[in-house]
């Protein structure tokens, strides 16, 4: 799902662009360092491959068919940083040339598919690649890359004031699950076929010591994305909890704001408040994951 322009409110698209642009910059440097020049043509041709792969149909019973979306396959074959760059390039071409996704919304789409999607694919694969459950890891990579992207997409739309009736939301989640399971199955089948066609391309298995770290990261990431989705789809939920705990009347005295005017502006605009709360929560969660990861790795090395 590529979000077109005109759907996201200004704080949402601007905030996500402000997150995605530096992230892509860092990943581009990471993808380039330590790799030879031959990587650039490879990444470009792989981008073209993902476009072309859409022309090969995978039948799924009763006349329906799907096609590869490619995020997980790229993350498994190229590694996470190059995969994120290739997907960003694909999204840019789709936005510029094919009117598939907006230019202002590019930051949001890159965040959903190239950053969150690739991370959601890479963590389970990395976790299970060296074990007997490798195929499960590949399936989960395909499944989560699609499912997490779709949840973020819906969450951002809800933050921007695109409201959906509750039962529609349930149907949407069911449809996403089917699409995501199909992507998982296609990724497993293609990787298996690839190992028959070209044995020896497989990337090395992870060191066992880092498995716990990856597991914690995966759990934190999934919790964060699910929390983001729920918090934004049900924006009143947080307030209801605050009301139950009895915080409702005391908020003003609890927090003495250094910017009273700004505070008033934010509180007066519910969508601005929701967007700010969602983004702040997201950043906070990522920060916590990062710090927890650092701490665990230091603790394990000690």
């Amino acid at each position: 799902m590529h979000i077109p322009d005109g759907f996201l409110s200004t704080p949402v698209w601007a905030g996500l662009a402000a997150v995605s642009a530096p992230a892509v910059g860092v990943l581009a440097r990471k993808a380039q360092s330590g790799l030879d020049e031959s990587r650039v043509p490879l990444m470009g041709v792989m981008g073209a491959f993902v476009f072309a792969a859409q022309m090969i149909n995978f039948p799924v019973g009763i006349g329906a068919s799907g096609h590869l979306l490619g995020g997980a396959l790229l993350a498994i074959t190229l590694g996470p940083a190059p995969a994120a760059i290739v997907l960003t390039a694909i999204l840019a071409i789709q936005a510029l040339v094919f009117q598939d996704g907006g230019l202002l919304a590019l930051g949001a789409n890159v965040f959903n598919m190239a950053l969150a999607g690739v991370l959601a694919a890479w963590l389970p694969y990395r976790l299970l690649a060296g074990t007997r459950a490798r195929r499960l890891g590949i399936f989960l990579a395909g499944f989560l890359s699609v499912f997490v992207s779709a949840c973020f997409c819906l969450g951002q739309l809800a933050l921007s004031g695109v409201h959906m009736p509750g039962h529609v939301l349930a149907v949407a989640v069911a449809v996403f699950s089917v699409t995501a399971a199909l992507e998982g199955a296609i990724t497993v089948a293609v990787v298996a076929a690839l190992e028959r066609v070209q044995p020896g391309w497989r990337r090395e298995a992870p060191q066992p010591g880092r498995r716990l770290l990856i597991l914690v990261g995966l759990a934190a990431f999934l919790l964060a994305s699910a929390g983001f989705f729920l918090a934004s789809a049900l924006p009143d939920g947080l307030e209801r909890v605050a009301g139950l705990v009895g915080l409702q009347g005391r908020e003003q005295t609890l927090f003495v704001s250094p910017f009273p005017d700004y505070e008033a502006l934010v509180i007066a605009n519910p969508w601005l408040r929701n967007a700010a709360a969602g983004l702040a929560g997201l950043l906070l969660t990522l920060l916590v994951c990062l710090l927890a990861g650092r701490w665990i790795s230091r603790w394990r090395n000690a």
Binding site: I3, P4, D5, G6, F7, T10, W13, V24, G25, A28, R29, E37, S38, V40, P41, L42, M43, G44, V45, M46, G47, A48, F49, F51, A52, A53, Q54, M55, I56, N57, F58, P59, G66, L68, V86, A89, A92, I93, A95, L96, V97, F98, Q99, D100, G102, L157, V162, H163, M164, P165, V168, I186, A189, V190, A192, A193, L194, R196, V197, Q198
Partner: protein
Amino acid sequence: MAQRIGRSHFVFDEWSRLRSPLHRLPPPLKLLSTLALLALTAAWPGAWRLFALAPVLILLARLPLPGLLWRAALVLPFTLTFALLTWWAGDPAHALTLLWRSYLSALWAALLMATTPLEDVLLAARRFGAPRLLVEVIQFTWRYLGVVAEQAWRMRTATLARGADRSFEISAASLAVLFSSSYARAGRIHRAMAARGAGGGA
């Protein structure tokens, strides 16, 4: 769903090489003003008035008006779905806003691409700080899009000509072959570039 990537996908390549006052403007200026128009369209509740500006710009650029209007309509399937859902949720005013906002935004993006070749847009993005690696990957992807897509279509035709059933395994095997042949193609491209002196000591 299988759709051949063909001439209609590359129509901007022809349009962007026409001559007009709009085509002659510097690409960084056009990129910035497109982004400004998009931001204005996204934030200003009265931005539907800009619908009067769009045809003027299109005609000034000597572009076919129906062609460009049709191109921007590519955004409508997504928009219509969510507009209907919003309508259903009891907010018809917001549904209408979604419709005109996204269509007008798609029109601005199409206008940029119809008056500026992709390589100039990318060069402008590079000047505004887009990473070099990303720009190069976009250029390679765009260059080989038609080539790999044509190969995928030939493979599809060949598979059907051999009387293969439509099956999950055959599709997966086709993709695996396409993947490894793309991998090999990338290696050949790199060697050809190196032979012509690209990269070198960089």
